[in-house]
Symmetry: C2
């Protein structure tokens, strides 16, 4: 239980942190330079747009995005402030609410995917063969803190987390 990690594991850990940080920063930077809001907004909009009715309970959004409750709450505030989503009353549970994506929200999500996918290609796709990408997935999945996610059977967009 208190054993030390192997040098190999430690090296992998260091790479994981450094590389992800760099690549994520680069992608965020690309988005920002293209005049778009941060990735978290995209992820939220994507989740909302994927919901069959275009709306979700904050709790669900929270679970999808692996975000703490207060963080989701404030993210929704910002989306609403920008007219990208709207809070709608939840009749079946008066504590709760629904968050519904607006038309503007859907448009922004689509436009962002253009810039976002280009960034992914630039910083990840172009550096890895598909076969390597699959291997990387497999290895990373093994680290996936037990409680794995179902996660998007859909058209493979979306990031989430943090």
């Amino acid at each position: 239980m208190k054993r030390k990690p192997s040098l190999e594991a430690t090296a992998a850990w260091i790479r994981l942190v450094r590389v992800q940080t760099r690549v994520l920063d680069a992608v965020e930077q690309d988005l920002k330079k293209a005049g778009f809001p941060p990735l978290a907004w995209y992820d939220a909009l994507l989740e909302l747009s994927r919901a069959p009715t275009g709306e979700l309970r904050p709790v669900e959004l929270e679970r999808q995005m692996l975000l703490p409750q207060y963080s989701t709450s404030r993210l929704i505030d910002r989306l609403v402030d920008e007219g990208l989503a709207a809070r709608r009353e939840c009749k079946i549970d008066k504590r709760g609410q629904f968050v519904e994506i607006t038309e503007a929200g859907r448009e922004l999500q689509k436009k962002m995917w253009g810039a976002y996918s280009a960034a992914i290609e630039k910083h990840v796709g172009s550096k890895l063969s598909d076969a390597d990408a699959v291997k990387l997935c497999g290895l990373l999945d093994r680290l996936g803190c037990s409680c794995s996610e179902a996660q998007s059977p859909a058209i493979g967009e979306g990031t989430s987390a943090r």
Copy 2:
């Protein structure tokens, strides 16, 4: 240039972000629960303790840790406030300074490595064979934003970044 990423690349990207976030959070949480300061402090102390003279220019620390300048500046503030490091005058360049690790700093770094290495083992080492860890390293290195780092030929401790 504007090509879309493959589904494989996108999937890898998503895993990279989500898994790293989870594992990093878990490790930070373990450290915090053991009563230790955040990882960034550890990394800074490690870099300082590795320097032959036990001191570094802030700029160097900044480069080692891939941290923005202001971030390093304030991190040093905190370390100094806690008596883990000290600012020393730099005679050869009066704009600059040296940051020197204190005895307390060295001790904390060592104690933290106990908890930190245990966390690495728990969240990474135990889930990956050494061979897989090596493969993971290889794949991640390929994403390493061109400008690769020399990075610790030493005893393989240390994380840095962000």
